[in-house]
């Protein structure tokens, strides 16, 4: 239960008093389980979400949006000298995105005109009904899993103890030195590695209490039955199409978070960190000899 404090392995120093590897119990079972269920949910939600998006690959602002209205982002295709060209239009500027967006290629190298490529969507064909089925089922799993995580984290003190910044971490000097360490991809060691660093804490709090709730609320705002029960959602998010656009942008921010998150794992001891999230055991490396 106590995620960071429990020492499993040897004490931190040997007989000579030199620093040593120390094995701690880093992640509780609840955190590990909900983390991996969340990975599954977010991956499949993203893929089924992109499949739904492909049915109408345009984003608008306000209440209404349909073909012929001004749009913020649109993915389409045109034919140029007999060749299919994928076009992504953002705020009236066209980008040639052939190969990925608008036009992509199937296993046989044949051009397919579709917004997101089939390898990114669930299902891979243009089956809107099935994509919706998957998206809504996984949304349930995601929300229930998130509720378990949140309930556990609040009750067990995970949020207070591990996620909220400590006073010393909030000093400008400390924050700047953390930024400098991050820029050099320098992973923490010793005492500093017993807790999340300040940038990590900010990011996790932003994802947990910012991006993920916005994802759920903007998703709910697209349901005509939910907005019948809670029309306030329209005022909160600016209308059905605004909610759809916010849902899409926030999904992109989550993808960005996952990319950085995985990169951080890779550069700071991938094996050790993966083991910590699977078994809970985590090795604190000694401080560098100075």
């Amino acid at each position: 239960m106590v995620a960071f404090a429990m020492t499993i392995g040897s004490p931190p120093t040997d007989e000579q008093g030199a620093p040593q590897r120390e094995v701690i119990h880093r992640h509780s079972l609840a955190v590990r389980l909900t983390h991996w269920i969340n990975v599954l949910c977010l991956a499949l939600l993203l893929m089924s979400g992109l499949a739904i998006f492909n049915a109408h690959p345009m984003l608008y602002w306000g209440h209404t949006g349909y073909r012929g209205m001004p749009f913020l982002l649109g993915i389409g295709s045109k034919t140029d000298n007999g060749r299919a060209v994928g076009i992504t239009r953002i705020a009236d500027v066209d980008f040639d995105t052939t190969g990925v967006l608008g036009v992509s290629y199937d296993g046989n190298g044949r051009a397919q005109r579709r917004a997101f490529p089939s390898w990114l969507t669930l299902p891979s064909n243009a089956a809107l009904a099935l994509a919706r089925d998957w998206h809504f089922l996984l949304a349930w799993l995601f929300v229930l899993n998130g509720a378990v995580y949140l309930g556990f984290s609040l009750v067990s003190g995970h949020v207070r103890r591990d996620l909220l910044p400590n006073a010393d971490q909030l000093r400008a000097r400390h924050v700047l030195s953390e930024i400098w360490d991050h820029l050099r991809l320098r992973a923490p060691r010793g005492e500093a590695d017993r807790r999340y660093n300040i940038l990590q804490k900010f990011t996790y709090l932003l994802v947990l209490f910012g991006l993920l709730p916005v994802m759920v609320l903007s998703g709910l705002t697209m349901s005509p039955a939910v907005t019948a029960a809670a029309p306030l959602l329209f005022d909160l998010l600016g209308g059905r199409q605004s909610a759809r656009t916010i849902h899409f942008i926030t999904a992109n921010l989550l993808v960005l978070f996952v990319l950085v998150h995985v990169l951080q794992v890779l550069v700071s001891g991938a094996f050790n960190r993966m083991r910590a999230m699977i078994t809970g055991r985590y090795v604190i490396r000694p401080e560098r000899a100075s």
Partner: protein
Amino acid sequence: MKLRPRRRLLSRRQLLTAGVATAGSALLAGCDDIAGGPPFRAALDFGELLSMRLQRLLLAHQPLVREYPAELISADFPPNGTEMPAGFSYFELMISQFARWRLTVDGLVENTLSLSLDELKAMPARTQITQHNCDEGWTAIGQWTGVPLAHVLRQAGLKPEARYIVFHCLDEMVRTPDRSGFYYESIDLFDALHPQTILAYEMNGSTLPVRHGAPLRLRVERHVGYKHAKFITRIQAVERLDRIGRGKGGFWEDRGYQWYGGI
């Protein structure tokens, strides 16, 4: 009150299987072909059931959906689905301005009705400016005038066994020798009796255009687009849906779409 056909309800074992199947789904690379297969189907149907149960709980007091001011009406509201039913019989009705068109109300009712357009227009009317939500993602705002479905059903007198209202339409989506490819839809009484559920014959203050379902279409405002049946010719009250069409409650439902269209 049971809200879904009995076959949709899952046993505990099916639920367990469904849960395991869902968790395991991501482990299967290229699970595409079976993504809609039987084990997943049970899980996916369970998700639909959960959404419907929760949304019905939230809607228990039957609130109205938001209605919009006239200046927000969409200039060129896109048609959803069929724009012009094929075939001579619809053409004939259309050129006579639907003078010979009748709405049949039958099934589990005390009095079978056959109503002309004028008779419907003489009934109490409701006008509402609401948002149409296609499941593809586009939305548009339109003004609709029509008879509350509840009024028509009261005139016919629902029998106590009636649980679903089926809308039979004039547009043939798929041509088959047995002529079973006509569009149809169904809703349950929870939605059928809602005050904003109307049989609309006017759009934006004029006669309902053909591409929007003339002479009569359904507005069922808490559902996505495909539930809003167009070109209605017959309303049938039934106890169960499994003997109509292919048994899933609608043309698109028979082809994989969810019967519950609240999302």
